[in-house]
């Protein structure tokens, strides 16, 4: 069995209904778990960019990329290791407002973690943190001791160190 590694997949696609189904089926068929998935606009008008995080062998990721690129509405797919990308995820905590005033420790945690208070009202406050997955994990552990009303975190978003020349590619597709 080859060593599994964490890969960030970046996919540039046409923005179409049904493509999510088509892409996710590629992972499902091969029994590969998607750790996180994010779909959003990209730097190019009307082109979507997907960021998918998986834990697989390099042999597997190459084949998966081949299958993704084969889809008609996929412009280009890439895979990168952790060192090759700059990545972040984002999270929100909803916490009782009383704690903010009563627990000095919470204020320290907020300062130390570079988290940002999004809103405060008399019942609750909302804390936002962007960073590495491990930083979010740490903040979660620290705050959970005081009680968290709600917690939600995003999938990974990433940019690569190397260029991904989609605009140029689109020109060659469509001279």
């Amino acid at each position: 069995m080859e060593n599994k590694e964490r890969y960030t997949i970046s996919i540039y696609t046409e923005n179409n209904i049904g493509l999510l189904n088509r892409i996710s089926a590629i992972f499902q068929r091969r029994h590969v778990n998607i750790e996180s998935i994010n779909s959003s606009a990209s730097e190019i008008d009307e082109v979507s960019r997907w960021t998918i995080l998986v834990n697989v062998s390099e042999d597997q990721i190459k084949k998966i990329i081949g299958q993704i690129e084969k889809q008609v509405e996929v412009i280009k797919a890439y895979y990168h290791t952790e060192d090759e990308t700059i990545y972040q995820e984002s999270c929100l905590f909803k916490i009782k407002s009383d704690l903010l005033f009563e627990e000095r420790q919470i204020q320290n945690i907020i300062k130390d973690s570079n988290a940002r208070i999004v809103t405060v009202n008399k019942d609750f406050f909302v804390l936002e943190k962007s960073g590495r997955s491990s930083e979010v994990d740490l903040l979660y552990r620290e705050l959970s001791a005081f009680g968290i009303l709600q917690f939600n975190r995003s999938g990974r978003i990433a940019v690569t160190k190397e260029a991904m020349e989609i605009t140029k590619l689109l020109q060659t597709f469509n001279p």
């Binding site: 696609t13 046409e14 923005n15 179409n16 209904i17 049904g18 189904n21 088509r22 089926a25 068929r29 009307e46 190459k62 084949k63 081949g66 299958q67 690129e69 084969k70 008609v72 509405e73 996929v74 412009i75 689109l170 597709f173 469509n174």
Partner: protein, 577 residues
């Protein structure tokens, strides 16, 4: 709809006309050169059928007896003609009945466009009568699919559908069209689709790969070619033959590659794979350069990958980049359309004969003749063999017939023993192994190529999976020859039970009806043969019939197909008994 932005719009050639969506679908078909469609009406597709009524002189509709039959007929049509096969069905069960045919076309790269009716768009997602999420269901078994909810999208989306189905590596496309979109009107104008910005059907060929491939081929002492359906799909038979003849390399075929080079060609060394010929299987593990052309190293071809051609340098001519290194690592991948890459490599290749290397094939083939083929073709036992039936068909058709086979032992016999003279003569369900494929596929093939003799070779099991299509033959009078090889067993499964499950014949014995009477019920001339003396004359009668004809041949009940590479074994562990 975003899709339109992805289309390169060709200039409209004529003014628009005001039409209903339903009529627009028909106009799109006609613009794409479609002359025959296969289908089955129902509620959500009725507006289309209503308009079709007025176009019967231009567009032939074949009413199959089940939507699965429509897909296989469309496949048979496509496989023999290289045109896009078209199947039409209603929503709900009509649509879900297309799935097997779509999956078959997907894995065997058959160009097909399926149109399904869908409930009106205001009912989508309400669990309306005969509503099913066919776009969701068909996604993994289509090259592309889409839903149309307004009439104005019909021309662009259908143009895209036909383009995708037949470009690059072909495949099936499903377009789901809501009933309201069929009723609504649009200003119709049709422009064929020629490119989609996110889609590169044929990858660019790296000229250094051609150089590297040529160097390997020229230096090889024991090269071997394995070709697949890519040669046929790329219409590259001529270029392929030129390469084979110039290099003198022994060439073997996968089941779907059969007939691209005549069976009798001196450089054709037979079929590879589980029930392929002994020599090419054994020598796969002895060759020094393996040249794969338009094939995808299916597990039925390779056996155990860890022991597949490990000694050889592999050159892979392939149109689909996802197939390169998928199962077998290619030392030299040559991406591109084989029609172009084979032509481009020709001048780089040296003329060779490889006489000594050919002797190895001849020696091993002699062993196969001795141990398998002789007994298959000239049996010492009383029971008829499948092989001698196929040999009789060869004789009567002089190798000109297109053989449409189903799935199982008879399929292996048909592929092993048919003497193909012309390309596109072997139509069978390869990748999916769909029992029930042959009868409807033969109907489609005969309609696409009325001048060719089309013989459906089917087992007694598969025959009963789509036997209702006799109704289609009866109604349309399409002169298909039906040859059922009846061993009263699901023979291939029984063979495995015998070899690997201690002869526990669980649910493989068939108690069959009187097939002759059934055929006669459809007024198809029918005959049953049980004895060798009757065989030649009966096949002759069948082949000479101007109408459709049903011939049942009762063959040996417990015969096995050999050679055989058991699952998990290596190609060089090919068994002869």
């Amino acid at each position: 709809m975003k899709e339109q932005t992805a289309l390169k719009q060709a200039p409209l050639t004529k003014d628009t006309e005001r039409l209903s969506g339903a009529e627009a679908i028909i106009k799109c078909f006609l613009a794409e050169g479609v002359d025959t469609i296969f289908g089955y009406p129902g509620g959500a597709i009725m507006p289309f059928y209503d308009k079709l009524y007025h176009y019967q002189d231009q567009l032939k509709h074949i009413l199959t007896r089940h939507e699965q039959g429509a897909t296989h007929a469309a496949q048979g049509y496509a496989r023999i003609s290289n045109k896009v096969g078209v199947a039409v069905a209603t929503s709900g069960p009509g649509a879900t009945n297309l799935i097997t045919g779509l999956a078959d076309a997907m894995i065997d790269s058959t160009p097909m466009v399926c149109i399904t009716g869908q409930v009106a768009s205001h009912l989508l997602g309400t669990d309306a009568f005969q509503e099913t999420d066919i776009v969701g269901i068909s996604t993994p078994v289509t090259k592309w699919n889409a839903q149309i909810t307004k009439a104005s999208d019909i021309p662009t989306v259908l143009a895209k559908a036909f383009y995708i189905a037949q470009s690059g590596r072909p495949g099936p496309v499903l377009i789901d069209i809501t009933k309201n979109a069929q009723f609504e009107e649009l200003d119709f104008a049709y422009a064929k689709c020629h490119s989609i910005r996110s889609y590169q059907p044929v990858p660019e060929t790296d000229s250094s790969s051609l150089q590297a491939a040529a160097e390997l081929i020229n230096a090889a002492q024991k090269p071997m070619i394995v070709w697949g359906q890519g040669v046929i799909l790329g219409e590259a038979e001529k270029e392929f033959k030129a390469v084979v003849e110039k290099t003198g390399i022994p060439a073997a075929w996968t089941i779907l590659g059969a007939s691209a080079l005549p069976t009798s060609h001196p450089l054709n060394v037979g079929m590879v794979g589980m029930h392929g010929n002994y020599a090419p299987n054994m020598l796969t593990n002895e060759c020094d350069v393996l040249i794969a052309i338009g094939m995808r190293f299916d597990d039925r071809v390779t056996g155990d990958l860890k022991r597949y051609a490990k000694q050889a340098k592999v050159i892979h001519f392939e149109i689909d980049p996802a197939e390169v290194h998928k199962n077998v690592f290619a030392d030299v991948p040559v991406l591109g359309d084989v029609k172009n890459t084979l032509a481009a490599i020709m001048p780089l290749l040296q003329e060779r004969k490889h006489d000594e290397w050919h002797q190895n094939f001849k020696k091993l083939h002699a062993i196969e003749i001795e141990k398998v083929i002789k007994e298959d073709l000239e049996p010492s036992s009383e029971g008829l063999t499948m092989a001698e039936v196929i040999a009789q068909v060869n004789k009567e058709s002089e190798g000109k017939a297109a053989i449409v086979s189903d799935v199982g032992q008879h399929q292996m016999a048909a592929c092993r023993y048919a003497q193909f003279q012309y390309t596109r003569s072997n139509i069978t369900s390869g990748g999916l192994g769909t029992m029930g494929f042959a009868l409807p596929a033969a109907i489609g093939a005969k309609l696409a190529a009325p001048d060719r003799e089309v013989v459906a070779v089917i087992g007694d099991g598969g025959y009963q999976m789509t036997i209702q299509e006799l109704g289609t033959i009866f109604q349309t009078k399409v002169p298909v020859k039906i040859l059922v090889l009846n061993n009263e067993f699901l023979g291939m499964v029984r063979q495995w039970q015998q070899l690997f499950f201690d002869k526990r014949y669980a649910s493989t014995e068939m108690t069959n009806p009187d097939f002759v009477k059934i055929a006669e019920g459809y007024q198809i001339p029918a005959k049953k043969v049980t004895r060798r003396e009757e065989l030649a004359q009966s096949i002759k009668e069948m082949m000479e019939a101007k109408t459709s004809y049903f011939l049942e041949v009762c063959v040996e009940k417990e015969a096995n197909v050999f050679p055989m590479i058991p699952t998990g074994a290596s190609v060089s562990e090919c068994r002869l008994e």
